[in-house]
Amino acid sequence: MAHTLHVNVNNTLHRITLDDERVTLLDLLRERLHLTGTKKGCDRGQCGACTILLNGRRVNACLTLAIAHDGADILTIEGVAQNGELHKLQAAFIEHDALQCGFCTPGQIMSAIGMLQEAQAGDDPERVREAMSGNICRCGAYAGITAAILDAHAQLQQQRQKAAAA
């Protein structure tokens, strides 16, 4: 049976007809919407390469069925830069050499965006590492990733303080 699905991906509304109930959100993004920034690593929720924001929360896109998410609001790596300007985390990843091959990077950045919104880790490197443990980097860029996140966190906090003072 075909199912019709409405999803908002990176501020674009899509109406999708699904003829297979087994399609995961990850496969929907990659195969149907051709948004291939979200990566398929393990496809079993272990590596974090497929991390997206689903209704504002970071989740593994591989472990959830598209059919269950009619009306969902999704943010992928393709939607985080605004008006041609990189997100602070994207810029910080470049600045801190927080990648080597780059395959895990979209998932790392989406996870870090979700983590900063959750506001549990603050500027504690150990809490950042713990909060990012669902994202694996086989190149071992962890030190750079942690530094990039702490840097972006500090920049965003400064930005907020300035805005509050203004």
Partner: protein
Amino acid sequence: MNRFDYTRAASIDEAVAAAGAPGAIYLAGGTNLLDLMKGGIVRPNRLVDITRIPELTETKALPDGSFRIGALVRNADLAHDHEFARNYPAVAEALLAGASAQLRNAATAAGNIMQRTRCPYFYDAAGACNKRDPGAGCEARGGATRLHAILGWSEHCIATHPSDFCVPLVALGAIVEITGAQGRREIALEALYLPPGETPEHETVLAQGELITALRLPPHAEHFAAHSRYIKLRDRTSYAFAIVSAAAALRFEGGMVAEARVALGGVAAKPWRAHAAEKHLLGSQPTAEHFRQAAEAALQGAKPSGDNAYKIELSRRIIVRALMLAAAGTQPRTAALPASVFGVHSGAIHA
């Protein structure tokens, strides 16, 4: 993954009616179910999506002092609920010690309880497993068994229940609220799980179509708030299942233990409440010696199911450690590495 019917239920009654036939499974966070379906380990013919039933998403303090957790409350939301974490700190710590942040954002309270008791052989569709194929045999026996059960196992299955959340929940006497075609009932979480025995394919007492609608912590559970801990040993400090874990909760009167709760994780097909240890602690002083005696009592009857005798002594030590930390007092905030033995804890005394 096999094809299946997909039905979205708008109410509990609609869900129960849709899931009455064999082969139907409820879909909530789906983090364990999808993984099992991708491996062909579970092949439902129908998924009943319960995620749009609003009444399953609430947490509520009840007038009698109980606390109800709706079936769909996300693990992360519960752990980060300040009031909940203050009243049930060991439960919050256990939640944060489980899985990854992404999974905790998706996984639900009832889904955590219903995650499958498992072992690598259960996940290997090419091998024999009595859980997947009753009567086929157990390839784990005589296999790589470092992480398998040491309590309550049978010749037919030596898998362990992987949940962290459930360990302090059974220690605190959590209750499961259930709705089925025959109406509503409630049972102790500890009584939800069946020992593997000769039918390891039956993991819980739930009948086809019965739906867990909520968990409830009884009024008494928050009396342990000042002295509660969860400790988890694992192969890496984050995002790994427990080798063994322990929840310990104490209540003191005049410097003596007036009440004690102890449970183990990663040791059996169910979260394992150690009643004998609890009894042993009553009226005693909180010393390493008494805690060690309680730990000995907890592991009475433990036996290796393979190459895992080390887990018996490890369990004793983790009980002592959890009790020492609980006696020292609940931390004001969960450690950077939740439930880790490597964190720097004030009051930590090495067992």
